[in-house]
Every structure is written in structure tokens, then in C-alpha cells.
């Protein structure tokens, strides 16, 4: 059976179609858009909160989108073990609603950064990374607020529970300050919750799926999820 990806559309989402295209047209899974004012997840096996600038990024990134009607359903879905992937703005929304710990602040450089980057895969003990089969993947980022921050205690528990999925690294997998595009603590690019069914990442795997773009490592994440549902 083909898994079904539900892609939530908020006002200001701009990677919703990219995510839909990647999972449906490139990878051949089922996919459906879910309007933020609805509550029905339409039988989705996986929910994607896509990138963009929901509600214009006003107040704080993701702070208003988290109160959209669909987010009640997404929250219950996640609490019941459903798989949720937040990409970029989707990650920011997951932080605001409290499904993932921490906050996102402006990039240290204050610049919007848009480029291909390398991520060191930190654990294979998750549905998101189990079948990636590579220690380094190349995925683009495009954000102005991807500077992950949390208190020391939370950071320690993220490490202890193996919740850090991806760290920014060099092409040969070295995790060093030079490879950090935004100032994120410990070069963190992606994390998951303790239960390991909710993940957020700033880089855009949906923009690294179609071979025509000459990079396909993003597909490894969606395939890993699809294979291990």
C-alpha cells in the first residue's frame, strides 16, 4: 500500500507545492493538500508542515499558524503516534506548538541564506533516518530564522535521548563552526521528539528529490519514512 502524505497549506506557505510534487510526482506516493482551516487529515499516514512564511512570519515565525484549526488535529495525530514532518517554517510551527522543544531565532549573520549544504546524519534510530544509508546528505536551506536555541537542560536531554537527527557539516562530514549557516546550537539542523514520530528540520528535503535538480538526497528521508511506517 502506498503511504499517503497530507501537506498542510497555511496562508503564506510557499513550499507546499514543492513537497506535494516531491512525494507524489517524483516518489509516487499518495498526497493531498490539507487547508489550514479544515480539521480533517483525510486519512493521511504522514503529515508535512511545509516551508514558507505562514501569516507573514508576523510576531514570531510559526506563532500564529499554530492556532490554525488543522493544528488541533495535527497535535492529536502526533500525540497518538502519527508521523509529522515539519520543514523550515513547519519546524518553526512545531516549536511554537510545543511538539518539539526549543525556539528559532534570527540567523546570526542576519542574512537570509539560500544554498546547498551538507548534513551529518546523527542517528539511524528513527523512521526518518533508518534507511538513509549515508552518513552525509546534501540538502538546500533557505531561511532567515534558522538559529536553533534552547536551554542547556533541554539540549542535554536532546543529546541523551538521541533526538538530534541532523547537524550542519562540511562535505566530508566534519561538524565545525564554519559549516554552521545560522548560528544554531551544536550545528543543529533537525531534531525529533522523544517518541521519535515528530521531526523538524530547517533544510528542505523536498527540494532535493527530483533528479533534474541534480541532487536527490532529500528523497532518502521520505523513502525511509515510507518504508518504515
Amino acid at each position: 500500500m502506498k503511504p499517503k502524505f497530507g501537506v498542510v497549506v497555511f496562508p503564506g506557505s510557499n513550499c507546499d507545492h514543492d513537497a506535494y510534487y516531491a512525494v507524489k510526482k517524483v516518489l509516487g506516493y499518495e498526497a493531498e493538500f490539507l487547508w489550514h482551516k479544515e480539521k480533517d487529515l483525510k486519512g493521511s499516514d504522514v503529515i508535512i508542515l511545509p516551508g514558507g512564511f505562514s501569516y507573514g512570519d508576523y510576531l514570531r515565525t510559526g506563532s500564529i499558524a499554530r492556532f490554525s484549526p488543522i493544528m488541533d488535529s495535527v497535535y492529536s495525530f502526533a500525540e497518538n503516534g502519527g508521523v509529522v514532518i515539519g520543514i523550515c517554517n513547519g519546524f518553526q510551527i512545531l516549536l511554537e506548538i510545543g511538539l518539539l522543544p526549543g525556539v528559532m531565532i534570527q540567523n546570526e549573520s542576519l542574512k537570509f541564506v539560500c544554498k546547498d549544504l551538507y548534513l551529518a546524519v546523527q542517528t539511524s534510530d528513527s523512521i526518518f533516518t533508518k534507511d538513509i544509508g549515508q552518513s552525509v546528505i546534501k540538502i538546500p536551506i533557505k531561511h532567515g530564522e534558522g538559529n536553533y536555541y534552547t536551554d542547556e537542560e533541554t539540549l542535554k536531554s536532546l543529546e541523551e535521548n538521541n533526538q538530534i537527527l541532523f547537524k550542519y557539516c562540511t562535505i566530508d562530514g566534519k561538524i565545525e563552526p564554519e559549516a554552521n549557516p545560522n548560528g544554531a546550537l551544536l550545528n543543529i539542523a533537525g531534531i525529533m521528539n522523544k517518541r521519535k514520530n515528530v521531526m523538524g528540520m530547517m533544510p528542505h528535503p523536498e527540494n532535493a528529490c527530483d533528479p533534474i535538480l541534480s541532487k536527490t538526497d532529500g528523497a532518502l528521508i521520505f523513502k525511509s519514512v515510507a518504508m518504515n511506517l
Binding site: 506563532s63 511554537e96 546570526e108
Partner: protein, 83 residues
């Protein structure tokens, strides 16, 4: 009716890249004594009730749930009765 004024500040322990950048502007303008610029938010609105304790409760909850993120920000507010 009450007029509410909420000020949201980033916690002192959390870096403020915006404040840092603005301070660079201050240096360019020759304000060499300016230190520790921090940028926060000023929000004002009205609460349509005559009950002050209800107004206080609403402003507090609004500030906690939406206007600030308790992980990185603190807030303070003022209420002023208006006619």
C-alpha cells in the same frame, strides 16, 4: 474599556542578532557610547470590558499564549482605563 500596552523582551541570556546589527549602525553614526542594544516588541490594544480584573486576566493570557514565547521572552503590561 481599557487600553493595554504590552512590552515583550527577549531574555537577557538569549542573543539578539537584530540588536547587535542595529548597534553597528549606531557606531557608524558615531554613537560610540551605545552599549547592549536589545530589540523587543511594543503592542497596544483595547479590551472592551469594565471589569479590570477580567481585563488583566485576558491581557496576561493573550501575552502568555501568543504575544510572547515563554521559552525566550518575558513580557510586562500596563492597563489604563479609557472612556
Amino acid at each position: 474599556m481599557f487600553k493595554a500596552t504590552v512590552i515583550v523582551k527577549r531574555r537577557p541570556t538569549i542573543v539578539d542578532p537584530q540588536g547587535k546589527a542595529v548597534e553597528q549602525g549606531a557606531k557608524l553614526l558615531g554613537f560610540n557610547n551605545v552599549r547592549k542594544t536589545r530589540i523587543g516588541k511594543y503592542i497596544e490594544f483595547f479590551v472592551d470590558t469594565t471589569d479590570k480584573s477580567l481585563a488583566e486576566k485576558e491581557v496576561k493570557e493573550y501575552s502568555e499564549k501568543l504575544l510572547s514565547n515563554p521559552i525566550m521572552e518575558d513580557f510586562e503590561f500596563m492597563l489604563e482605563e479609557v472612556r
